[in-house]
């Protein structure tokens, strides 16, 4: 199955994070992502996409918490859909 970028994940669908391209994420943000528990292997669910036509930032469920992040960072996170 081809991996889906986190920002392209359809709303309400669940997925597991496979790989994260840490190289394209600024270091401080990468550190914060890990602190929030968004790293390889964690279960995610797309909850909301931002306002009006931008649809940016997005809100994601990570494990038991909700976090908001910009699509640019989310596009470096590759997931595999789960059922």
């Amino acid at each position: 199955m081809t991996p889906v970028q986190l920002d392209e994940l359809p709303l309400k669908s669940r997925a597991r994070v496979q790989t994260i391209d840490w190289a394209v994420i600024p270091e401080s943000e990468g550190h914060r992502l890990r602190s929030l528990g968004l790293e390889e292997g964690v279960e995610v669910e797309a909850l909301h996409k931002g306002i009006l036509l931008w649809r940016d930032p997005i809100a994601v469920r990570v494990g038991r918490m909700r976090i908001a992040l910009r699509r640019k960072v989310a596009s470096a996170i590759f997931c595999e859909l789960t059922l």
């Binding site: 914060r32 929030l36 909850l47 931002g50 809100a59 494990g63 918490m65 908001a68």
Partner: protein
Amino acid sequence: MSGTLPLVALVGNPNSGKSSLFNALTGARQKIANYPGVTVERKSGRTALPDGRPVELLDLPGAYSLQPDSLDEAVTRDVVLGKFPGQRRPEALIIVVDAGNLDNHLRFAIELIAQGLPVVLALNMVDLAERDGLEIDPTVLGDELGVPVVSTVAVRKRGLDQLLIMLGEALTNPRPEEAVVSESRKQITERAHRIANRAIVNETQGRQWTRRLDAILLHPVGGVAILLALLFVMFQAVYGWSEAPIGWIEGGFAALTGTIKTQIPDSLLRSFLTDGVIAGVGSVVVFLPQILILFLFILLLEATGYMTRAAFVMDRMMAAVGLSGHSFIPLLSSFACAIPGIMATRSIMDQKERLATILIAPLMTCSARLPVYTLIIGAFIPVQSIGPGIGLQGLVLFALYLFGIIGAMLAAAVIQRFVTQSRSSSFLIEMPRYQLPRLSDIALGLWQRAWVFLRRAGTIIFVASIILWALLSFPKVPEGSSQNQVEYSIAGHISDAIEPVVRPIGFNHDIALALIPAMAAREVAVSALGTAYAIDAEDDEQAALRLGPQLAAKWSLATALAFLAWFIFAPQCISTIAVTRRETNGWKWPIFMVVYLFALAYLAAGITYWTAVSFGL
């Protein structure tokens, strides 16, 4: 002495309910200061163990791990490790974790437990976790972690007695010293998951309140409409509800002045007391109602969990000028007053973005500009309808707000590009579950903000007012001279020096004179113009009423418009400058702010003046 009391630190993730627990344990007896050398708030307080022993509690800033990525987190790490200069190491820790977010918060808890200090773990917000369908066994959790665990609901004061009993035991019989095991982050994460899975004995769907509310509040269109409606209500309240209390405060100070005038004969002392001390204190206290109302809203929005949603909704627009959703609330607060706005920037993680936000905060049209705007608009802009429900005066006022916002956005873009050289802003935030706030937490928060404002801004405005009074009072005009006191004073001479500088942008001698006292607070310009035109009115409002026609007769419309343009940008508020110094820990940035804002003000006034003149106004 507090120095001899056992020191216990509360540590935990942001959104673990740590501060509520701290409030519940210490009550209102808290001490707030900054850690030496950094602008991180240090909150401490006292509580008593069940056996009567007093302990000092320290509320450490929320952190995700002992590898800091913000100033706050660095303070937390250094204090826990006993490496913070001037702060002794705590004897024990109360680790606070959110029961509803166990896997995540346990990682930090595991890291903290490994440090070897006596520890009690507060499994907090168990009520919200139950609402979400989670049932956790604290005994299993305690066995797995090897430390005592107590279920608590800080906002309902549940579990506090048990927590203090456990803390007492932990202090009396510290657990055997173990070698500090350092695990990799991956190992910690895996262990946290394993422990959480064992401790969670039952999991159902729960009521999903947060999910339902988010569907409405984060709706791509509806969410924006709700935020705008909320802001509208907030501004109505800030201006509407504050009118009466401001009137009482002004009345009170006027009565006090009146009493002094009847008790003490006309002298330098009397003038010092009434025009210096009372006028100075009054000019600070008069801001309090608006600041309190504004903070009431902000505290409520924070405590319910909506604040991060507002940041989510606004992020994309702020990104256009190099900022992010994090800057939204501080800038919003600045519409009432830049002082609380600048204080609120502490929540911005990115230090470059925080600096840029501080530097543009004074461009948001604060309430102190309104008296000046009202005076000039009333005197020069005709009452004229230019469309159904749209008056020309209102339109000009709206334009002044708009120019402030546009100016701030342009300034932000330039500052982020050239001054802070931030490559790109970032937005990454945890969105907590919604919850009903505890009113006593809100009340305590309000009281603390009010106190911080009065102490920090108050002392400086007070000193500045005294200096201004001296500049305006000395030297004394000789008996029988035709000159008035203001023109004869040091301030008068300074304004003579300023006049040639501001003449090219259409300002006359009287404006130059008014600009000096307006440094204390912008609205003082109104009473200063009144003095210049020898109007002896009881208060600013009356002065404005009689001043209007005089100005209309003496100033050209071009001068009036230039005067308005000046006030959009000019950093005429010593307290804002003082707060900026405090929050940036030095004089570099406040000086930068003053220089660039005066330059903008000068340019804007000049362009306005000469454009107006070329149109024959």
